[in-house]
């Protein structure tokens, strides 16, 4: 037998017991050639192109799933940022495009379609300003469309005006989708240093420098890492790092294989593997549980940031060797609502927004899936976004904010979205005002870090 008994069993154990799956196989599709002065024509072109290229995306992914015995949790499509292909349109026309994306996504049976996006880190065009205004309505009138806006980058600095607009749009989205626990905000992410080949929603889009069509893969697998750490027992940091790296190597290899095969079956180029550890609400498939297995009493205890930093670093080191091309976010995700352990820590009062912010400085991607009281002022949300953007700009990393000011809810209550989005406990947020800082507006100039030439 070319494989050891234990090797075969370890793979079976990963896929059958430890929740190992591929989080997403995302097909990126260029829509630059779909622009048209007439919105009806543009919509038709968009619909036709997506359904033509991704028509068999789900079917092919299912085939690969059964062939290799590895589940693919989500099949998704990302598209060129819509604001780029339709700069001349008005708000209502943008919403029509969102509805077209939703219709195409339903037709081909994917879980999400992302790329209702704008890149305004340095400034916004008139078209982009109209686009930003359309976001709350687009999210309220669609189910599968995800939106993202990049408001800062290390090269450009931070567009404070865009942050102020986005914090208002987040509040408005929460209100427009109040009947569903403000779910619109779960599909809207504000980025700093957004990446162009990210397969994860809500922040995926098909970047302007990407090829015509591409398949990107996002791995999952916290359950597998957790089991590895638990079996290793009480070893020192150096040994622990080795354990994590070996486990992540295997996970990433599987991601690489699945990505190549799905790409080949769709006859498109294989892009990257995003080596992010992405949790799911399933018990045991949790980043928080990993941190606790590493030794903190609960997430939020002093030492949490250090544990997360090492986990994240090991994931990168192992993933880099395992994949032919690593990209996307590539780090551990710490979304609160999608991780049982994080939810538990928040409900127990162990994990605060401030500690989460510190944790985002050492991992991808940012304050993710965080519910705050519905009456949180827009300027406070803007302050939170600005803080995250500052961490991103100064450390030359991607950061993001996906915050949900749940309409009508207060601290202590929670909102349950089901599925991969999970259950978000409403967290306390500082009541001190950030208004006078943020309402200065303008642009936070590019930092020293940008002057690398």
């Amino acid at each position: 037998m070319p494989y050891e008994f234990e090797e075969v069993l370890s793979t079976i154990k990963m896929t059958e017991i430890e929740h190992f799956d591929i989080r997403t196989v995302t097909m990126g599709i260029n829509l630059k050639d779909c622009s048209d002065r007439n919105v009806e024509v543009a919509c038709q072109k968009i619909y036709d192109k997506i359904t033509r290229l991704a028509g068999k995306h789900v079917e092919n992914a299912l085939k690969i799933e059964s062939q290799y015995g590895i589940a693919i949790a989500n099949k998704r499509v990302s598209v060129t940022p819509i604001s780029l292909i339709a700069d001349s349109f008005g708000e209502e026309e943008f919403i029509k495009i969102a509805e077209t994306l939703d219709k195409a996504a339903r037709q081909i049976g994917i879980d999400y379609i992302a790329g209702y996006s704008a890149l305004v880190q340095k400034g916004a065009t008139n078209g982009e300003l109209r686009f930003l205004n359309s976001i709350p309505y687009a999210l309220a009138s669609t189910a599968k469309v995800c939106s993202s806006v990049n408001i800062g980058s290390t090269k450009a600095g931070i567009n404070i005006d865009a942050i102020n607009i986005m914090s208002e749009k987040i509040k408005q989205t929460a209100e427009l989708t109040k009947d569903n626990g403000s779910i619109g905000c779960a599909k809207l992410v504000v980025f700093c240093n957004a990446v162009e080949d990210n397969p994860f929603v809500a922040g995926a889009f098909h970047g302007v420098s990407e090829p015509e069509v591409v398949i990107n893969v996002g791995i999952s697998g916290p359950g597998v890492v957790l089991d590895g750490i638990r079996s290793a027992g009480r070893v020192d940091f150096r040994e622990l790092a080795e354990v994590i790296k070996k486990t992540v190597f295997k996970i990433t290899r599987a991601g690489e294989l699945i990505g190549r095969k799905v790409a080949a079956s769709n006859n498109v180029e294989f892009g990257i593997v995003d080596i992010s550890l992405a949790p799911t609400p399933a018990e045991g498939d949790s980043i928080a549980d990993i941190l606790m297995a590493m030794g903190v009493e609960d997430v939020g205890a002093p030492g949490t940031t250090a544990a997360l930093a090492m986990l994240n670093d090991c994931v990168k080191k192992a993933g880099l060797m395992a994949s032919s091309c690593v990209g996307g976010m590539s780090g551990a995700f710490i979304p609160v609502s999608e991780d049982q352990g994080m939810i538990r820590a928040v409900e127990a009062g162990h994990l605060s927004l401030e500690k989460l912010e510190a944790m985002t400085a050492v991992c991808s991607v940012g304050l993710d899936m965080i519910a705050v009281p519905g009456d949180t002022p827009a300027t406070t949300i803007a302050g939170v976004i600005a803080d995250e953007a500052a961490i991103g700009v100064i450390n030359d990393k991607t950061t993001a904010v996906r915050i949900i000011p749940v309409y009508g809810k207060k601290v202590g209550e929670s909102v349950d979205y089901g599925g991969l989005l999970g259950k978000a406990p409403v967290m306390p947020i500082s009541t001190l005002s950030s208004a006078n800082l943020l309402l200065r507006g303008g642009r936070f100039p590019a930092p020293m870090r940008s002057l690398t030439n």
């Binding site: 037998m1 494989y3 090797e7 075969v8 079917e59 085939k63 059964s66 599987a254």
Partner: protein
């Protein structure tokens, strides 16, 4: 069924003559498919290339487990390349490397057959393409 090398060579030569300089990848594919269908070979939609797969089964040990599995494999003309088995108390674990290249069935169809066997014997059977093990455990 398998297509012999001679048949393939014959088809390639005839395709070259027939299509001449105007041949494109698409027209060659159409030509070959047409010829194959004329010979009674139906190209299956999305058929997976054959190759080696790893079958893992475990459960409560009882007489006839191995024969039920190998029986299902032999009716589908599947070669068994290697078997490794361990029995711990009442539980057995068996790992087989099989080759489905010569089988008329796709991996999916074999999986479905084995699913029935697994249900009947109340054991677990997993069938995965070899690549997943090669990718994870070999550099």
């Amino acid at each position: 069924m398998t297509i012999s090398d001679d048949l393939l060579r014959d088809l390639a030569i005839r395709a070259a003559k027939e299509l001449g300089d105007s041949a494109t990848a698409e027209t060659i594919k159409q030509y070959v498919n047409k010829e194959l269908m004329a010979r009674g070979v139906m190209p299956k939609e999305g058929e997976q290339a054959g190759g080696r797969a790893i079958l893992t089964s475990f459960g409560l040990n009882k007489p006839g487990v191995v024969s039920s599995i190998t029986g299902a494999l032999s009716t589908s003309e599947i070669d068994i390349l290697d078997i490794s088995q361990k029995i711990m108390q009442d539980f057995f674990t068996m790992i087989m490397m099989i080759d489905i290249t010569n089988s008329s069935k796709t991996l999916k169809e074999v999986q479905d057959d084995l699913h029935i066997v697994a249900e009947k014997l109340n054991i677990k059977i997993y069938l995965q393409h070899e690549d997943v093990f090669r990718f994870m455990h070999r550099i």
